[in-house]
Amino acid sequence: MLAVEHLDFAYPPPGAGLPATAALRDVSFHLEHGETLAVMGASGSGKSTLCHVLAGLAPRYTGGHVAGVVRVAGHDVLATMPPTGAVGLLFQDAATQLFNPTVEDEVAWGLEALGTPPQHIGAQVEEALARFGLLPVRAGSPWTLSGGQQKRLALAAVWAMHPHVLLLDEPLGGLDPQGCDEVLAALATLHHSGTTLLLTTARAPAVALAPLTLLLTDGMATSPASTAEVLQDEARLVKAGVLYPSALWPTFEAPPGPSSESAVAVQDLHFAYTDGHAALHGVNLDIPQGQFVAVIGPNGAGKSTLLRHFNGLLRPTRGAVYIQGQDAAGRPTGDLAREVGFLFQRPEQQLFAATVREEVAFGVRRLHLADVEGRVERALARFELTAHAEMPPSILSYGAQRAVTLAALAALDTPILALDEPTVGLDGCDWARLLAWLAERRAAGTTLIIVTHEMELAARADRVVALAEGRVVADGAPDEVLSGPAEATL
């Protein structure tokens, strides 16, 4: 069904004077009808590029140099674009591939492009929506769906075209645990229905549903082997950057001499969005300097809303927020940035400078901090970005983009760090780098406030604050909170 032989691919140079980037080197594998293959590789190992080449999009739409053979159901993909619908591709960022006003129009669009007789389209749309559990939202806008629903819709839209091969680029990437469960259930039904699937992933746990797995490292692939066998070789997975078992995590040693002074204090915080949705109802918290706090809770509990108050991105509807003992009211976000370093979700949307170096230097210059050069160089080196310093951040892999946003924070060296879901979508190497930095900041006495769905990370904190429906439902040491009754709802 899918044959790949000695495939090489290099992107054109990203700018004048920069080298072309080899993304795939001598990749070969075969996939028979109805088989499912997982391609596991760290961020930047060439997974998305492989999907784009197999779908006929690269180098046709991206530029670059390709060599080797790619055949889908006998069609030479490198010579001519595969027939419409022959190869389905689920993009990593599902939201950008949705462009119709309603959910059902989204599924119908590809069928119309195929020239399906109009009288058959309705039934096929219905079937696809039913298969991916989207019938209740069929008339809604794709925009208003949750992350998991958007992925399922994008999947329904490509599946409805009945492709010979379905390529899924990081189907679980960027999703919270609930979204992951939704998509995994959808993938399981696809696997059992005999669809030929190739899925890519940066984390070992996601390959469970594929009987075969191939490891991709710096564009080079191993031969597909049984997934159970691949997962057994832990050391190799760690080396490939797809696994970072908690046994290897650094110890988060507390700073010497704990402080009793307050870093962040929240008093009776209420917040409602302009559309009337009340997100926080009377939250009280006092976080002393140097404490490591994990904020946990289900989607929509108000975790990000709470965190956004710490640097003034949101202002209380009622109540007060104090940063290092000072009332945050009336201080602009750009000023609070001196004390609170804030990490947003979705790093790819935060990058705005022409080069990685400029991106990291932005905050240092804006805040008129001393030793701009030294701070930037150290931050670049800390996150292994020195080699990428002159590249535009927008062309980097997801993991590298996350590293740029972390380096931009590290360069500011703020006494408080507020991180919103920093681990989402990270591969093993990125995890290792993030945790090493966090351990270092913790030892230096930085106050760490981390919103996370990763319970193992929360278990390493000094204190866990559990939110549900805009209220603190548990607040205490990790072993108390994570084993308590509130944990069942998280």
Binding site: Y61, E112, G115, W143, R346, Q350, A353, G363, L412
Partner: protein, 255 residues
Amino acid sequence: MSVALDFYVPRDTWLHRLDPRVKLWEMLLGFVTAFLLPYWWAQGAFLLGLHLLLLYSHIPWSALRRLWRQMAWLVGLILVLQPFFAPAGAVLVALGPLRLTVGGLIEAVLLAARALVIAFIIGVLLFTTDQRALVQAFVRLGMPYSWGLTFSLTLRFLPAIQQLFVTVREAQAARGWVVEGNLFRRLRDYLPVLVAVIIGTLRMSDRLTLALAARGLASTAPRTVWRDLRMRPPDWITFIVSALAFGLLLWVRWR
């Protein structure tokens, strides 16, 4: 995400079901009528009729109020300025060369009412027609499909670009960006945000190009259309009745 450009209020009424091509035809007749009627009271009656039609079609008051709010500045501007541009009849107040006259006031009210009539005629189309049907109507009237798609994509991505602007501004604020000082400095401070939004928009369009290609935009097979527009008897009747009514209006006006 706020979709500020989407006026559509989904309901199942006669007007919602009416073929959008007929609605476009009605809109054209409405525009011409609004320009032909020289009486403010006739424009007022027209406006009242449009309100009744929208309320009858289950469009909520809140939607009508939103349109009134959007038109308020234009109507206000007309009412304040127009009387001085077209003085006629008895002078009410004279301020140097500026004269407020009865004729000027009537003219201003007529113009303001006409502007509102036109806004509410467009409202009738946008409140009761979903985007897909609207694009389909234009395509069926001869617009190439690629133009229709571009139009839909623009409507779809404008809110996304607006969101991108907010995201970038927040990301920069979180790294010490503060807007302060005079207007010139403020504009200069917004430059990095604008540059980032432009780059972000280009990236978004790159990804969209790939997504469209992967879903068969370049397909050589002729595109089919699911739920294509079809003129039903009520559509034809509305089309003919409105043409006759318009003819009658012309006859009454110029006989």
